[in-house]
């Protein structure tokens, strides 16, 4: 038996989480280094997975399969396709930066504070989330996926509720209340989604008699498994609802601004760049492959909801006064693009959506982490408390601008490629929706540049005049992300080559092919 590489990518951070949690409180710094080392080792493993993955090979590779709960046909089945491998790599890539950016976020508060913050716990929870996210990208058994899809809520709940920004205008008491509210809201939204999905998972087992994704897809393809139209639709809705909450899709989005606003910047990145990707990933893998007909049936409604997300998220971002909430609404807009790309049912749309997941992860991490550095310096999340930062901290302002430009999809940076692919993919199958979505690029420029103008330019506010520029640790977080943004913007081919075959497979599961251009139709 070969080395279980995929299991290792998940077990390593899980073991790391336990080990980090076990470090005594006095040796806080050791816990941080341990977490960083574990996350880097996981990244190394993920790179091995990426290298071992053969884009031209079988659909699912590096597979592992063991009996688990044989009475219910639940198996421990892992395997990655091109989409999964890209997202595993993204997750493993972002965690070291999140750890490094949150280096001091969980340090004990100044003496005299009543609140207790377990430093090791913070890093252990991040690693635990990493383990669960990675295994949900790798699972090919519906039940196995479901367990980790739900279980990741627990560490996330504690990360949101337990660790907030150091300083807060309204005082610690009020901040703590708002944080609990955000954490509970996050938990409830996602639990409701998860429970509905659980019903659908059980329903699927009743209908299909198996939890194995590959078996069910194969059975549906060769006709041995027939699903009544209405059954398929109900099951699809059950799955989709959970993913739409997680993604999040309008109008199920309101938990995200609260959760991202109240948690520290690295945790906010963890939410939007890592955890939420499981939602969009699962739409692409489970909704489309298990329920192709129902997916096509629901396409018009979902496309409209995604379109609303794009425009609505962007407009609300313009109206925000809080930096983090602004980024959260921008993310809602971007998730709209991803979902639109998935349900455009064209290869450009879906490849674009997958690339979008990766690029959005990197670009939001860059923007949000720099925003976090900014907020930690001034102790305020309000945009109006800043002004003229460019003059006192040019490197911070410069990196913030690059993060912003990535968010508005400037050509030359990675998000442009994916956004354009999504737009083209949507336009070929649904021209009107594609054109309206294009308005999103103007709105994206609006909220990003307004944010930059109000915080970074203009006369220097007295409160920011002594603001230090980025420290070495902070540059070490941002610089690699920026390099990646530029590299993937100029040369996205390696990732596109990995993703394309998987998308082609998915499209053939849904029995869809790209529309032909007019000129060829003439011939």
């Amino acid at each position: 038996m070969s080395f279980p590489l995929l299991t290792a990518t998940a077990v390593l951070p899980a073991v790391g989480a336990v080990a980090t949690a076990a470090v005594p409180a006095a040796r806080r710094t050791a816990a941080k280094w341990l977490a960083l080392l574990v996350s880097l080792a996981t990244l190394a493993l993920a790179i091995v997975v990426l290298v071992r993955f053969d884009p031209g090979g079988a659909r699912y590779q590096l597979t592992e399969s063991h009996a688990w709960i044989s009475d219910f046909g639940v198996r421990y089945e892992l395997g990655v396709d091109g989409i999964g491998v890209a997202l595993v790599a993204l997750t493993a890539l972002l965690i070291p930066f999140i750890v490094l950016a949150g280096w001091h976020d969980a340090d004990p508060l100044e003496t005299g504070s009543r609140r207790w913050r377990p430093t090791q716990g913070f890093f252990a929870l991040i690693l635990a989330v990493e383990a669960m996210v990675i295994i949900s990208f790798e699972a090919t058994d519906v039940f196995l996926f479901y367990i980790f899809f739900e279980a990741m809520l627990i560490p996330m709940y504690f990360l949101i509720g337990g660790f907030g920004d150091r300083a807060h205008q309204q005082g610690e008491e009020a901040a703590s209340t708002q944080r609990s509210y955000a954490a509970v809201k996050f938990l409830l939204y996602n639990l409701v989604g998860g429970l509905i999905m659980l019903a659908a998972v059980i329903g699927l087992y009743v209908v299909a008699g198996s939890f194995s994704l590959q078996d069910i897809v194969a059975a549906r393809a060769n006709g041995s498994l027939h699903m009544a139209t209405s059954t398929e639709r109900w099951l699809f809705l059950g799955f989709f609802f959970a993913f739409a909450v997680k993604a999040p899709l309008w109008p199920l989005h309101t938990w995200l601004p609260n959760a991202m606003g109240e948690s520290t910047a690295p945790v906010a990145v963890l939410i939007t760049a890592v955890v939420d990707k499981v939602g969009t990933f699962a739409m692409l893998r489970y909704c489309l492959q298990l329920f192709p007909e129902a997916s096509k049936w629901a396409t018009p409604v979902i496309l409209v909801l995604a379109l609303v997300s794009i425009v609505y998220g962007a407009l609300l971002a313009v109206g925000q006064r809080d930096i983090k909430r602004l980024v959260a609404y921008a993310s809602i807009s971007h998730f709209g693009f991803i979902i639109m790309g998935i349900f455009a049912m064209t290869s450009q749309g879906q490849s674009g959506a997958t690339l979008y997941m990766v690029n959005h992860g990197i670009s939001t991490a860059a923007l949000m982490l720099v925003a976090g550095f900014l907020i930690s310096r001034r102790g305020s999340r309000l945009i109006s408390d800043y002004g003229g930062v460019q003059k006192v901290a040019p490197v911070l302002a410069g990196t913030f601008l690059i993060g912003g430009l990535a968010t508005l999809s400037l050509p030359g940076l990675a998000p442009f490629v994916s956004e354009f692919l999504v737009l083209v993919g949507t336009f070929t199958s649904h021209p009107v929706i594609g054109i309206i979505a294009t308005f999103g690029i103007v709105l994206a420029a609006l909220y990003t540049l307004v944010l930059y103008q109000r915080t970074m330019t203009g006369p220097v506010k007295p409160e920011v005049s002594a603001m230090p520029d980025l420290r070495v640790r902070e540059v070490a977080v941002v610089a690699p992300l920026i390099v990646l943004l530029i590299f993937l913007g100029v040369y996205p081919k390696p990732i596109a080559d990995i993703v394309n075959p998987a998308v082609k497979q998915t499209l053939s599961d849904v029995h869809k092919s790209d529309p032909k251009p007019d000129v060829e139709a003439v011939k």
Binding site: T254, F427, Q453, P492, K504
Partner: protein
Amino acid sequence: MENLIALLIAAPLLGAAVLLVGGRRLDAVGHWIGTLLAAASFVIAVVLFAGLLGRSGDDRTLIQHLFTWVPVESFQADVTFRLDQLSMTFVLLITGVGSLIHLYSVGYMEHDERRRRFFGYLNLFLAAMLLLVLADNYLLLYVGWEGVGLASYLLIGFWQHKPSAATAAKKAFLVNRVGDMGLSIAIMLMFTTFGTFAFGPVFGHVTDASQGKLTAIALMLLLAACGKSAQVPLQSWLGDAMEGPTPVSALIHAATMVTAGVYLVVRSGAIFNAAPDAQLVVTVVGAVTLLFGAIVGCAKDDIKKALAGSTMSQIGYMVLAAGLGPIGYVYAIMHLVTHGFFKAGLFLGAGSVMHGMNDEVDMRKFGGLRKYMPITYWTFGLGYLAIIGFPGLSGFFSKDKIIESAFAKGGTEGWILGAVTLIGAAVTAYYMTRVMLMTFFGEERWKHRATAGESVDGHAAPAEHAAHAEPHPHESPKTMTIPMIVLAFGSVFAGALFTWGSSFLHWLEPVTGHQEGDSPLSTWTITSATFVLMLIGVGAAYAQYGRRPVPAVAPRGSLVTRAARRDLLQDDFNHVVLVRGGEHLTRSLVYVDHTLVDGVVNGTAASVGGLSGRLRRLQNGYARSYAVSMFGGAALLVAATLLMRAV
């Protein structure tokens, strides 16, 4: 030889990377690094130009394929460069004028502590602009297109501590984004129509596509061109863009970037030729902007904004010519190149004046400067003669050709367009003479100034924080005057050189195609009409500003003047409809999100909470009552089981 093309872009790109990442260590030499790399790019361009001249006319297209950029099934975008006569013309203009302006900036930005950064941005601009004109497909062109937008954003907002500069930069980017949206949609339409967006295949299959699709593509391309080239209705950003340092205005907002729209239309000639309706719209846009810019230019007292109005108007000429189809393409580009020389020269002259006048921009506070700045006066004067179309100078040849072509369009349209171009020529002469007279002639209004006032546009004059003392006008250093002299040479001789034996026509024809139009009027009639109208314009300006003293504070002026000072109220319209409307929309949406969308969820949560509050009363804490409910439940279960058995 093809392999040199990438180097054209690589040199300034390297400069931008080194200067922006290098940090303060490079502060001392940064400006020379930037200038050298720009010059290196120019040298490569000249080498390539010599190479192209050595080939026959039909064999002057060089293609360099670098790598596959975005491959997704049928969507294949490559990083491929195309150097043909059209892009070569632009490359020479961009790198040539660009290098001169780098040199000029060495002196102009001498006292700015962020000079290294400025050169980094300038190099970034050159790289993006070269990418724009060298791209072999529309998606790659789009990268350059937004890249120049970014560079323009950074440079307009270079003095970020001024809120007006930051706002102007943002506005420029946003208005351009609206245009960019047009370009995106055009590319998508091309992809669905032709299955590709590379120049060759698209232009080759134009005949297979439906008329409606072609018109749609052409109109979307026009929208993009309007954004970048500040054409009506997306012209509002250009005036504000003058907040940037003057070399930026010269390079980006006069000579190169704003002409990208003309490049786009001419490059896409094959599509426009097949979509006559769209062409008509192009000419209308050009004609309207031509007059709009000219009227605005007449009313502005800020020297740079007057020149910006003029730029808008001159680009209107080019767009109009490009809209005429094969009759006009060559002349559009010819005017673009000559305009690049004289307008860059004029802006550099304006910068030189400002440099010597403590950064004052209000022409009402100039006057009589010719004695103090002779080189600036002469170079500016030659540029002035060129732009008003004084016979023998560059503008005369290129503008007359456009006027002729406009008449040659034929029919009523031809007469209307011709008349508009003629009127434009008169107005051009008027506003340029006004600028010339107010700046270099007349009373020295900058002397004995009591207090620094506000300029008419409502912006605080930069002089306010510079110095309240009386300015001491002086000639600028050599690094600034040399570029001005070189550009003045271009303004004088370029037109004659291009027309000599129709050399420019023969050079561009293989790419753009050309067709002689037959004008209802003879060449001589048109030329003399233009000349007479020009004289009328000059005369009118002289009567108003040369013979009478210029008031130091602007008179109230007529309704039209006041409207023109406010950019013909277009900004007010934008403010009321878009800015205010947008604010209300976002604010109400924030409210809706909080009360309605979130409210539904919170309402559900509240009702669940209320219900459980009632149910809570059952939990009284007495162990015995829990036991009762347990027994009750067990009894019920047993009863139910028995019942089921019985049934």
